[in-house]
């Protein structure tokens, strides 16, 4: 159980949060029409007469959107409903040409599932998923182009969305953030939603209420709509909970309502909708037959499901000996995990892990690149680590080579050859260099011999410096010890 509490004037409060996440389905065409579902495009160009609500147009369901919903259900370890149905949700808005949204109300395609979240302290919590259903997105209204008119672009109208509804199991802003991140990760692994929150591919509505710790049941909740980042979700929950606590503590009551989060002012505001605005008068869409799924088809989708984040994490820990923390970082994005495996497979895995999490990530950060357009390929990094493993270069020189690779795009071997960085393993040459250092620092040698042993590091440093960093560190250590005790 979460210990998150908000302290009011009259004592402590606990928060109760459930989330509805709208995730845009990855598909070529729309849920019920053959118009393109891709983002952008000339206004009103990705629109068919079905999407524009022309009379007599009939919706035909997109098979891939159904498959994507089933894959998501399987990834959430949820119940797949072999019978589901589409309903009309009726409301008027300028960017909804038909006057209704086709959704699934009574019989959603996916039933109960769960999402495991891990909190920063390592605690694992399970957040229940109530359901997932398929529905259409609406168009876009643009209000800032004209003083008296709104402009309508229907490119989004009819694009398939999955609405994923959680149980009110979330107990802190951190859990809400972790839930959204985890959901996003699972969807991205499955390839069912690109998770791009800036483009609106994922948006969340959060239901927030508060109660005293230990109190049974739930108090009245408010819904905060259309949050498009993890940070806003966390902020909105905290701000809304504090607002409700103030009202309860002053002896007031909460009205169940829809609110908007204003991140500039740091407040939630009531959406003053008419009292009957939420009478959606759902009824089965007479243009669409019920959706019935064959078990064999579900099995086939299941057989081709990609490895999920949790499974990949466990496997990386087992196969490459990475820690629990390291596996979380490496599997946060599938592309990172793929990159890691390409570098680490059949190599010194520890070396690969340290290099990827250390210098390689640092190089990505420095250049502002992502793993997808990394300045160094997995093959390239693999070659570099190979040069360390076979003692061609030492670790320190390798850092320099990596920087050069990032800058020039040349291969590690080419850089080592060009700069003459090959490690010196010739004991004669190293001994010669050490002797010069010892001769030049006779006073320090004497100090060392009289017990000031930490000077050893000084001699190592001087030798490496004299050899331009190219000496094999193990050999330097070994020979220095021998020569100092001679």
């Amino acid at each position: 159980m979460s210990n998150y509490r908000i302290t009011g004037n009259t004592g402590e409060w606990e928060i109760v949060v459930g989330m509805e996440v709208h995730a845009q389905v990855v598909s070529q065409s729309k849920l019920f029409s053959g118009a393109s579902a891709s983002y952008g495009g000339e206004p009103n160009s990705h629109v068919s007469l079905v999407d524009a609500g022309f009379p007599g147009m009939l919706p035909v369901l997109n098979e891939e959107c159904v498959a994507q919903a089933v894959r998501t259900g399987l990834g959430l370890r949820a119940k797949i409903n072999k019978f589901s149905r589409f309903d009309r949700k009726n409301y008027f808005y300028a960017d909804l040409p038909t006057g209704y949204q086709i959704s699934q109300f009574e019989h959603p395609i996916i039933g109960e599932g769960k999402v495991e979240i891990e909190l920063p302290d390592g605690e694992v919590r399970v957040i229940g998923v109530t359901r997932l259903h398929l529905e259409q997105d609406a168009g876009k209204s643009i209000h800032d182009q004209d003083p008296t008119r709104s402009f309508i672009d229907l490119n989004r109208a009819g694009v398939a969305l999955m609405e994923i509804v959680s149980e009110p199991d979330i107990r802190s802003p951190e859990e809400a953030g972790a839930y959204l991140r985890k959901l996003r990760q699972i969807l991205r692994y499955l390839g069912t939603c690109d998770g791009n929150m800036e483009e609106g591919s994922m948006r969340a509505d959060v239901n927030v209420s508060v109660r005293r710790p230990g109190e049974e049941g739930y108090r009245t909740r408010c819904e905060i709509k259309n949050l498009n980042s993890v940070r806003y979700v966390m902020q909105a929950i905290e701000i809304e909970a504090e607002r409700q606590i103030d009202i309860w503590e002053e002896g007031g009551t909460i009205d169940q309502e829809t609110r908007l989060f204003d991140h500039v002012k740091g407040e939630t505001r009531s959406l003053r909708t008419k009292e009957d605005a939420h009478d959606y008068r759902y009824f089965p869409d007479p243009d669409l037959l019920p959706l019935e799924l064959e078990q064999s088809w579900i099995d086939e989708l299941k057989a081709h499901l990609p490895e999920l984040p949790e499974d990949k994490r466990a496997r990386l820990e087992k196969e490459y000996g990475v820690s629990r923390y390291e596996s979380a970082v490496l599997t946060a994005e599938q592309s990172v995990a793929d990159f890691y495996e390409e570098v680490a497979k059949g190599q010194d895995a520890r070396l690969a892990t340290n290099w990827i999490l250390g210098d390689f990530f640092a190089a990505l950060n420095r250049t502002g690149r992502s793993i997808e357009n990394s300045p160094v390929s997995a093959q390239g990094l693999r070659e570099l680590l190979g040069l360390i493993s076979d003692s061609t270069i030492n670790g320190k020189i390798a850092k320099e080579v990596l920087e050069d690779m990032v800058e020039t795009g040349e291969s590690a071997q080419a850089i080592v050859d060009r700069k003459g960085l090959k490690q010196v393993t010739d004991t004669g040459a190293i001994e010669k260099s050490i002797q010069e250092i010892l001769d030049a620092n006779a006073d320090k040698v004497a100090e060392y011999k009289s017990g000031k042993e930490k000077l050893f590091g000084f001699f190592v440093g001087q030798t490496m410096k004299a050899m331009k960093g190219k000496a094999n560190p193990a050999l330097v250590n070994e020979l220095l010890k021998k020569m100092l005790s001679a």
Binding site: A35, N44, V47, V66, R281, P286
Partner: protein
């Protein structure tokens, strides 16, 4: 089931249709008649009969995920009462 004037006014509002009091009364009578007629169905005993949505013999037909439509801006905008470049326009709606 019978309709009162309040319910008729509400249905009209949800449909964004403005009705005068006299019209409300007209529609109340007409709709009441329709409901009364459909109400005859309640005489049939449907205990243990599952609701039928469409034909029981068929389930949804699915289409392949291919882009086969779109790029028909002019046709899409042809019925718009008002437009501005590639957009429909409507009286400003801001919540």
């Amino acid at each position: 089931m019978s309709l009162d004037a309040k319910k008729v006014a509400r249905i009209a509002r949800l449909a964004r249709i403005g009705l005068s009091d006299a019209e409300v009364e007209t529609y109340r009578r007409e709709m009441d008649g329709i409901i009364g007629w459909v109400d005859q169905l309640n005489e049939v005993d449907v205990t243990d009969v599952p609701p039928m949505i469409g034909s029981e013999l068929a389930s949804a037909r699915l289409r392949k995920d291919e882009v086969t439509d779109g790029n028909r801006q002019e046709a899409v905008l042809s019925n718009a009462p008002e437009r501005e470049g590639p957009f429909y326009t409507v009286p400003k709606v801001v919540e």
